[in-house]
Amino acid sequence: MPTDTRRIGGPEESFSPLAYTPTDSTKTLMMSSNGIRNDGRKCEDLRKMFIKTGVVSQARGSAYIEQRETKIICSVYGPREVVRKEEFSMKGQLTCEFKYATFSCSYRRQHQQDSEEKDFSVQLLEALEPAVCLHKFPKAQVNIFVEVLQNDGSALAASITCASMALADAGIEVYDLVIGCSMKIHEDKVLTDPTVNEEYDSQNSKELNHGSITIGFMPSLNQISAITSKGEIQIDFLKRAMTDCVEACQKIYPAMQQTLHTSIKDKLTASER
């Protein structure tokens, strides 16, 4: 493996601290018999959520989202000039960069984007692109940067919500907000907003019905802008998970509206002064 000479590397011989921690027995046992999950939620419950806009002063718009231990910050720049030589297009361009902070996961992430992060960047772009009025800024581009500060599951779903809040904060013209939500399908149960222990892991799945699904939902248009799923899921469960996702998104929508409302109100009163 090539080493980065400009960063301080660890000792030559090292062991992951995870090797010394007792194996997480809860990982296999996802919930108690009465249908309560390890963190005390029911199957259909979302985690408590906190959203704030305008957190990065340098950016045109930014947002921070917290779903218990999942913490994501997103900043939006532009519309700005297209720097790289690209073909002329009358439509604006949207770029997304999704990155886990090096310290965000149980194991250390690299500074460069890995394949999972690149994959998430594309999925994020696909979820947001249908919602943005790209014809409003011809020849220019809008850059979205998403950084996961702490990952406790549903990072992609939370980053879709966060990015759309940041776009709203930036005042980029959009047809609708996009809300992300993710579901875990485990045997005959559909778990809303899974934590990292509950998330789909191909190594740990022996059951026939085992997977996860993430959607991007536009609430006022009542349309799904992106959908992605992995694992082995029976089609009936996939359908059920999708409708559950949409329902969960509609629960998140008022929280986003409230945040936007207070931020606009604050900005208006600030500009009056």
């Binding site: 709203a168 005042g171 006022s220």
Partner: protein, 211 residues
């Protein structure tokens, strides 16, 4: 949902009600006499808002009601065809000059866009006698109109109007020059005369820069 109304007194005297609007909130039916303005889009016979802000209704010149959603904060603009822009000249050569677009209309840009003025677009008459070095110098602040979106690199600008051209220029001695004719400027320090394509600055434009 019924959004609470925020009233902003004084500054927007013509506005009756100022509710905060969210994305994709349905504002009203498209009827005869209503037009969708900035910050809105039309779908299925309704006008929806496309930014979060407050509603502003205005009468246009032809008696239509213009519906806009505005944010009082800085707006997102990109140069569009026919827009009047302010730019700084960065590079001059015999065929064209390059410049950085600093603001579009009244709205300043956070990051500049690149623009270009070709020799034939400098003035409306005697186009073949235009000399670029006698029209612009690097560092000049110019007012120009966007001719077309140009190529992938830069916007095409024109100054072929009396109102367009150099508005601020520094002489070789480093002083701000005063315009003396449509093609000459004078340095107040050395009284030297330099050639420029001088703009006949409009009073309304001076108001823009004051605000």
């Amino acid at each position: 949902m019924s959004a609470p109304r925020i009233c902003v007194p004084g500054k927007h005297a013509q506005i009756q009600l100022i509710p905060v609007i969210f994305y994709s909130q349905r504002i009203c039916h498209i009827e005869n006499g209503t037009t969708a303005g900035n910050g809105t889009y039309q779908r299925n016979g309704f006008i929806y808002s496309s930014i979060a802000g407050y509603l502003k209704t205005d009468k246009t010149d032809d008696g239509q009601v213009l519906i806009e959603v505005k944010r009082d904060i800085e707006q997102n603009v990109v140069p569009s065809v026919d827009a009047v822009v302010t730019a700084r000249v960065t590079n001059v050569n015999p065929r064209f000059c390059k410049c950085l677009i600093l603001s579009v209309g009244k709205i300043g840009l956070r990051e500049p866009f690149r623009g270009q003025i070709r020799k034939e677009d400098v003035r409306a008459t005697e186009k073949d006698k235009v000399e670029m070095y006698k029209s612009f110098r690097p560092g000049d602040i110019i007012v120009a109109r966007v001719l077309s979106l140009g190529d992938a690199h830069s916007y095409l600008l024109t100054t072929a109007e009396n109102e367009l051209g150099v508005v601020m220029a520094t002489s070789e001695a480093g002083a701000n020059m005063d315009p003396i004719s449509w093609c000459e400027m004078k340095c107040p320090k050395t009284l030297a005369i330099e050639h420029r394509k001088v703009a006949k600055v409009q009073p309304k434009y001076i108001q823009h820069t004051d605000t």
